[in-house]
């Protein structure tokens, strides 16, 4: 067994010494050609011989019990094989990193849309026909579905510091406002899918999943077999955004049906089912209280929120996470209420916490700057804390001030005018800004690296959910081993390979990359010994090893041998001694139509500091993608639930609006500041994807205010809300 490396102290910046020159570059994805030519086999593309098709059947009551399945109601369908119903079916997908099965409610129904059975047929069409027509009988009881009126409220433990009343009451300026955000769907392009096949007692599952090391345990636990008998394959995943963190209802249903029928079973969710039954982001109600002295120094900072979830689900959106460390105040208060409602369960959706919480705190900061008559950038610069205000930890690396200053400069922030002052025809033009922050994590990860004359092979059960893992791990291995990237092969998405962090929480590239780094470092040390130099003197480049005035081709040193090294890393003392987070600043210009209330983002710049950039191109895609989600959350995204049944009404991508191309301006820039986070991991890198979302929507809202002088506090800022605010202001 490999010894696990613990991140207990800063590591040498080896990647600044290596010579191959591929780390950090805009290398193309090695998997790109396969993807654009349709040859990458996503889960639903794999059809083992004899595979049949399953379609999930939903509950059409909100709360109650399934009493009866009328199998005769679909007996006429040609090719129908079975209606599978099993007490081991999941109520909802597992939460991220659960490592065990979620609730298996048997006949109990907890939300409208809960998958309760699987119709299996020879063809996909027949299975879908059966699933849509199968008659079910339910007992139903009254259920609370609206968080605004639900009575089951669980206050969470508050986080408080200082004397609130003293700080608040005497303050020269106060902002006391409520912001609301609606439910969000992950809206990954690939619908959730699973293909299950049993080989004796061994279950092989191809799944659309983000975190295989955890998913294997969850699936085994759900089905009731040891994890060693489960193999999960997920070589390509078509987007996750949190919705594929935990094992899903489709995977367990496919596994149980395949067992029952003795044939491989494929279950692909209809798009509507993805909305009905995959974890949503909670709606939030956020109460912001900011108090400042006449110089703009924060005296009190309060961020209370209300979130919801299904009864029994532990996940609570960490809404005020970034509010707790972005700024310091004499007194702080963070309280959360969890409301229990019978809507589809809530879980992690792209940047849980920051995606909605930073919108609100950054919009409230803008309101405070307004009250003070102070530049919003200056207000933030005046309130950067020396250390984490709640935990007292020093920051590992925090270039927020640089991001604010550099971003303002490159964007042309000094051209900003008073609200309503800039007009082009019927369009009112405004600028807004917001800070960005997202905590950085290191999650236990293992990887194996093989070096032979043919090149290097990296093996880990890490996933690439479209983020660029294949590219980034290729670069880490190529850089460390002095090989052109074309000589590195990365194998991912197979639980028979060393277990990685998986993709989630923006920790995937750094965590799995660190494991590859450490395994490759062991190989470097062996090459140094073969060459006859000290490891620190070794230099590898283009297949040549140099050190201590010696030089030899790596292949000569190998002499036919295959060097295999495995390494595992996990978080250690640096995670306690220092607080690591990515930071950034968004600047945005919008146009608001004075008659119709339409909002168009005209340009947007994000400036970020998130440690070493491993691949400039994929990092940029992540950051810009995050900013686009931010625009969408400010202007479009709104998952609506029926007020009577709680079912999702916007259950397809025509009704659930994410940003379209026409919503995103050409001038959408992400700039990365040079940074190394020595306390984060041996790569000195930090997470990227979710940092781009954080605050982006806030910058849009603040720009709307600067354009037309009204605040939109219930997002998204759709035209009706903008004109309602304009009319309320007499415009």
């Amino acid at each position: 067994m490999t010894q696990t490396f613990r991140m207990d102290k800063p590591q040498p910046r080896l990647l600044d010494e290596t010579r191959q020159g591929v780390i950090g570059t805009s290398m193309d994805r090695p998997d790109g050609p396969l993807k654009v030519s349709g040859q990458a086999t996503y889960t639903a593309d794999a059809l083992p011989e004899g595979c049949v098709h399953g379609m999930l059947v939903r509950a059409t009551v909100t709360r109650g019990h399934l009493r009866d399945i009328d199998r005769d109601s679909i007996a006429d369908i040609p090719g129908l094989l079975a209606v599978v119903r099993d007490p081991r079916f999941l109520r909802n997908p597992a939460q991220g990193m659960a490592g065990e099965a979620p609730d298996q409610p048997g006949d109990r129904i907890d939300y409208h849309g809960q998958p309760v059975a699987l119709v299996v047929a020879e063809t996909f069409e027949a299975a879908r026909d059966g699933a849509l027509r199968l008659k079910l009988r339910f007992d139903s009881v009254a259920a609370e579905v609206d968080p605004d009126h639900a009575t089951e409220v669980e206050p969470q433990d508050p986080t408080e510091s200082g004397d609130w009343n003293a700080a608040w009451s005497g303050a020269a300026h106060q902002v006391d406002v409520v912001y609301t955000t609606p439910c969000h769907a992950s809206a990954a392009m690939e619908p959730h899918a699973a293909v299950a096949e049993w080989q004796g007692d061994r279950l092989i599952l191809r799944g659309a999943l983000q975190m295989l090391r955890f998913n294997r345990k969850e699936l085994a636990d759900a089905v009731g077999i040891p994890p060693e008998q489960v193999q999960i394959l997920a070589p390509y995943v078509g987007g996750g955004f949190g919705s594929k963190l935990g094992i899903g209802t489709e995977a367990v249903a496919a596994a149980l049906a395949a067992r029952e029928l003795g044939r491989p079973v494929r279950v692909v969710m209809a798009r509507q089912t993805v909305f009905d039954a995959v974890l949503r982001r909670t709606e939030t109600r956020q109460h912001l209280q900011l108090a400042a002295d006449a110089e703009g120094k924060l005296l009190a900072l309060g961020h209370d929120d209300r979130v919801s979830n299904l009864p029994g689900e532990e996940f609570a959106e960490p809404v005020s996470s970034a509010s707790q460390f972005l700024y310091g105040a004499r007194a702080t208060r963070f309280r959360q209420d969890m409301v229990r409602v019978h809507r589809v369960g809530a879980g992690s959706v792209r940047a849980p916490g920051e995606a909605v919480g930073v919108i609100a705190i950054e919009a409230a900061m803008d309101e405070l700057a307004d009250a003070l008559g102070m530049c919003p950038v200056e207000l933030r610069l005046r309130n950067l804390p020396d250390q984490h205000p709640v935990t007292g930890q020093p920051f590992s690396a925090r270039a927020l001030a640089d991001c604010l200053r550099e971003g303002a400069k490159s964007f042309g922030w000094s051209d900003r005018q008073a609200p309503g002052a800039r007009q082009e025809g019927d369009w009112l033009i405004g600028m807004g800004m917001a800070s960005a922050a997202r905590p950085n994590m290191l999650v236990k990860s293992a990887a194996r690296v093989r070096l032979s004359a043919e090149g290097a092979v990296v093996e880990t059960d890490m996933t690439d959910i479209g983020t660029g893992t294949y590219a980034v791990l290729t670069q880490v291995a190529a850089e460390m081993l002095g090989l052109p990237p074309g000589q590195v092969t990365v194998k991912l998405g197979d639980t028979d390979l060393p277990g990685a962090s998986g993709s989630g929480g923006s920790f995937g590239a750094s965590s799995s990359g660190s494991a590859v780094f450490l395994a490759a470092k062991k190989i470097r040390d062996r090459l140094a010994a073969k060459l006859g130099c000290a490891p620190e003197d070794l230099s590898l480049q283009d297949g040549l090893a140099r050190g201590a005035n010696l030089e030899a081709p790596i292949n000569d040193l190998l002499a036919g041998e295959v060097l295999v090294e495995e390494a595992e890393i996990k978080g250690g003392k640096t995670a306690e001694s220092h607080f690591s987070a990515g930071f950034g600043a968004h600047f945005c210009e919008v146009a608001v139509h004075r008659w119709t209330g339409e909002v168009r983002v005209r340009r947007m710049h994000g400036t970020f500091a998130m440690g070493r950039v491993l691949n400039e191109k994929t990092a940029r895609s992540q950051a810009v993608g995050g900013m686009i989600w931010g625009v969408g959350s400010a202007l479009h995204e709104d998952m609506s639930h029926d007020p009577r049944t709680g079912h999702v009404v916007t259950r397809d991508l025509a009704n659930y609006h994410i940003a379209s191309h026409a919503d995103i301006p050409r001038d959408m820039q992400a700039v990365f500041l040079e940074e190394r986070d020595d306390f984060a991991n041996p790569l000195q890198s930090k997470g990227v994807g979710e940092l781009g979302i954080s605050g982006a929507g806030g910058a849009v809202l603040n720009a709307i205010h600067n354009a037309c002088g009204v605040r939109i506090r219930d997002i998204p800022a759709t035209p009706d809300r903008v004109i309602a605010a304009l009319e309320a202001a007499g415009r």
Binding site: R58, T60, P78, E125, R128, D129, L132, R133, Q272, G425, D426, H593, W595, T596, G597, E598, R600, L635, H636, D638, S640, H641, D642, P643, R644, V649, T650, R651, D652, A654, N655, H657, A659, S660, H661, A662, D663, P716, T718, P719, D720, I723, A724, E727
Partner: protein
């Protein structure tokens, strides 16, 4: 999806003979196939008319144009005669759907597309449009996309087409062929029914009627045309409200005005009274507000659509300002030109 029989019609007679209440015509299929996958529509037979000859041309008809029922939305929008003389139709088409869908969707199919009411789309929800007498789950549900004019207790759904709104403002007629080969022309208000207590009956067409063409009369000479669509994102979304306008100015006064509204009714909505208020008047923002106020005088039938009243008012004022020269025209407002 339910199994169905497929017939490819070789002639209009053959198509008509294959049609009955259990059959559906398929042309572009951009709406029908979605509805069949969800089993909102479950035709036993699908009659493919895409190979019928002679229905895919845009031809002169008197001083106007005859648009074959199978002319693709993208071809229609790009036609130089349409762009020059009926720019509002081109704008309306391009504001709908996506490039891929417009490449498939046809003129006739666009007119006959079904509402996108989410309760109509969900077979688990009560819907009298799907099942007469079943009730309307949209009453008391989430109603952002519902109509504010012409609704009934049985149905709150709005017609989704942009193209039809433009056609309504242009006084287009629909040519319909009955099974015996007879042709008749219907104004859009004669084609579309209001829901009343039978929202399942959306048009006056018989099951074996076929739309063969849309006839555009000569455009109003020297007019300004506008199509303005308000939606929840900049592209690829159905209208919250839309306004189609044809305005001809006459020595500083409004000589002629035609206005049609989308996203607000079970069919493209037109109110001759509004147009009369504008005739002969000098353009004036106060007048436009008065016209808009009259259009939206009654409360919305559903609280979720109350917002459409101010949104429609303000959009109409913005369109009239541009179309009458009170404000600079923006994208979507065009002066008509003679065809090259």
């Amino acid at each position: 999806m339910r199994a169905f029989d497929y017939t490819r019609a070789e002639s209009l007679d053959q198509a008509a003979a294959a049609l009955d209440p259990a059959a559906s015509v398929i042309a572009g299929g951009t709406n029908l196939l979605d509805l069949m996958k969800l089993q909102v529509m479950t035709p036993e037979r699908v009659v493919d008319i895409t190979r019928l000859p002679g229905l895919d041309a845009i031809e002169p008809e008197g001083e106007g144009l005859r648009l074959g029922a199978l002319v693709r939305n993208s071809d229609l929008a790009a036609d130089p005669r349409i762009r020059a003389r009926y720019p509002l139709l081109s704008r309306a088409l391009l504001s709908g759907a996506s490039g891929q869908i417009r490449n498939k969707a046809t003129t006739g199919g666009n007119l006959l597309q079904r509402t996108r009411c989410p309760y109509f789309y969900d077979p688990a929800m009560a819907c009298s449009k799907r099942e007469p007498g079943a009730g309307c789950a949209a009453q008391g549900g989430v109603g952002r996309m519902l109509a504010i004019f012409g609704t009934s207790d049985a149905c709150l759904a709005a017609h989704p087409s942009d193209m039809a709104v433009a056609l309504r403002a242009l006084d287009a007629e629909v040519e319909v062929r009955s099974r015996d080969g007879g042709l008749r022309r219907l104004a859009l208000d004669e084609l579309y029914r209001l829901p009343g207590d039978r929202p399942d009956l959306e048009t006056t067409l018989a099951a074996d009627d076929l739309i063969t063409a849309v006839i555009l009369p000569a455009p109003v000479a020297g007019s300004v045309q506008a199509y303005r669509k308000l939606r929840d994102r900049a592209s690829y979304a159905f209208a919250l409200v839309s306004v189609a306008a044809v305005i001809r100015m006459d020595q500083g006064r409004i000589g002629q005005a035609a206005l049609a509204f989308g996203g607000v009714a079970p069919r493209p909505w037109r109110d001759a009274g509004l147009e009369a208020m504008l005739h002969g008047k000098t353009p004036d923002e106060a007048l436009f507000r008065e016209v808009a106020q009259r259009l939206t005088a009654d409360p919305a039938p559903n609280p979720d659509t109350e917002f459409k009243r101010p949104l429609l008012r303000r959009t109409l004022v913005a369109v009239l300002r541009e179309a009458t020269g009170l404000a600079q025209p923006s994208i979507g407002t065009d002066a008509t030109k003679d065809a090259a």
